[in-house]
Each structure stands twice: as structure tokens, then as C-alpha cells.
């Protein structure tokens, strides 16, 4: 079975500072990995995904993530955050043949302060 652990429930950061949101997964088969963002009172939006190929994946809004198979991690990073990045971020995993049965982590609340 697959599972996802987001190590930080909340990450406070000042505007223009870099940020890393951590995600670790567990799976006995090859996985596909995703980061979704949820702004207040909205549904989730896809930030980026890793399916195969280059382990460094770039997404929207200046975010990127690196797939590390040996550490079973898929951490999300941004070199300089904005107030508008304040949101809940979800890491998710699925596997080949799993259709879109995404398994989500518990989320990390990113709070960007001026």
C-alpha cells in the first residue's frame, strides 16, 4: 500500500524568504508524485507532478520539487515566497494502474508574513 507523510503541519516564513515543504512517501511499486495547492475557500489546483524522467520538476508560480528515490522524498521548494503563496499544500501519490486514485498527505499550511 502507498502512503504519504508531510512532516510539517505548518510552516511560517517571511516574504521573499526561501521555503521547503517536505514530503515522504512509502510504496512497494513505482509511483507518480504530485503537489497540489489549496487557497482559502477553493478547491485544489495542481502545482506540479513527477511521472518519470528528470528528477527536478518545475511547476507553476515558481515552485519546483525534486524526486529522490533513495530517500523516498518529493520536497517542494520555492526560492522566494510571496504573501499570495499563503495556502495549504498537499503532497499526493499514485501508482501505475492506479488511475487517479490519489493518496494525499495531511497537508502543510504555508503562512507567509510581511
Amino acid at each position: 500500500a502507498q502512503s504519504v507523510t508531510q512532516l510539517d503541519s505548518q510552516v511560517p516564513v517571511f516574504e521573499e524568504a526561501p521555503v521547503e515543504l517536505r514530503c515522504n512517501y512509502s510504496s512497494s511499486v513505482s509511483v507518480y508524485l504530485f503537489w497540489y495547492v489549496q487557497y482559502p475557500n477553493q478547491g485544489l489546483q495542481l502545482l506540479l507532478k513527477y511521472l518519470s524522467g528528470s528528477t527536478l520538476v518545475k511547476g507553476i508560480n515558481g515552485f519546483e520539487a525534486e524526486f529522490n528515490k533513495s530517500q523516498t522524498s518529493f520536497h517542494l521548494r520555492k526560492p522566494s515566497v510571496h504573501i499570495s503563496d499563503t495556502a495549504e499544500y498537499f503532497c499526493a501519490v499514485t501508482f501505475a494502474g492506479g488511475y487517479n486514485k490519489l493518496i494525499f498527505g495531511a497537508g502543510t499550511r504555508l503562512a507567509v508574513h510581511p
Binding site: 485544489l44 511521472l51 487517479n100
Partner: protein
Amino acid sequence: DTAVSQTPKYLVTQMGNDKSIKCEQNLGHDTMYWYKQDSKKFLKIMFSYNNKELIINETVPNRFSPKSPDKAHLNLHINSLELGDSAVYFCASSQGRGVTNEKLFFGSGTQLSVL
């Protein structure tokens, strides 16, 4: 235009009642989903339909019944509501049923509170 729309946005009801949440997508997608987000923010898939065929049916009480009258609509009916059903329910859609080329488009959620 909202791509995936759910109604109602808020639903407050008493235990034991039967209620429905409606979802419509105007993206022309073939696949629709229901996810449940509990009070700890955990998101868990409940159901998925592809062209009106049920393809994912997770272990949920049979009080929950999805209905897809056409591929643009996926409604969720809940019988005999219980306190533990209180959550945010998200509808989503995607063009196909495979994850490699698809992304999910989510609605803005329905906050269900059972009193």
C-alpha cells in the same frame, strides 16, 4: 465560468436526514470523482466514474451512493447522516482515467455539518 461547480457550498443538517450534493463540470471531461476531507485535512477518494461507469469505489458506508446521470454530472447522495459524516466533500474531474496525462480539476468543496 466555473469549471467544476458543486452545490450547495454549505450544508447544515440533523443526524438521520438524507441529503444530496450536486456536482457539474463544463470541461467536457470523461471522469469525475468525489473526495472527502476530514477535520484534520486528510483527503481521501470515495468514488470515481468514467463515462458514467463506476471505476473507483473505496470502502465507504453504503449510506453513500454516487449517481452519474451523464458524464458532466456526478451527484453524491447520503442517507441517514451521522455526526462522523461532517467534512468537506470535493468533486473533481479529469479528461481521462489515467494519471500520466491528466490532472484533476477540483470544485471548491461542500462543507457538510451534521448536528
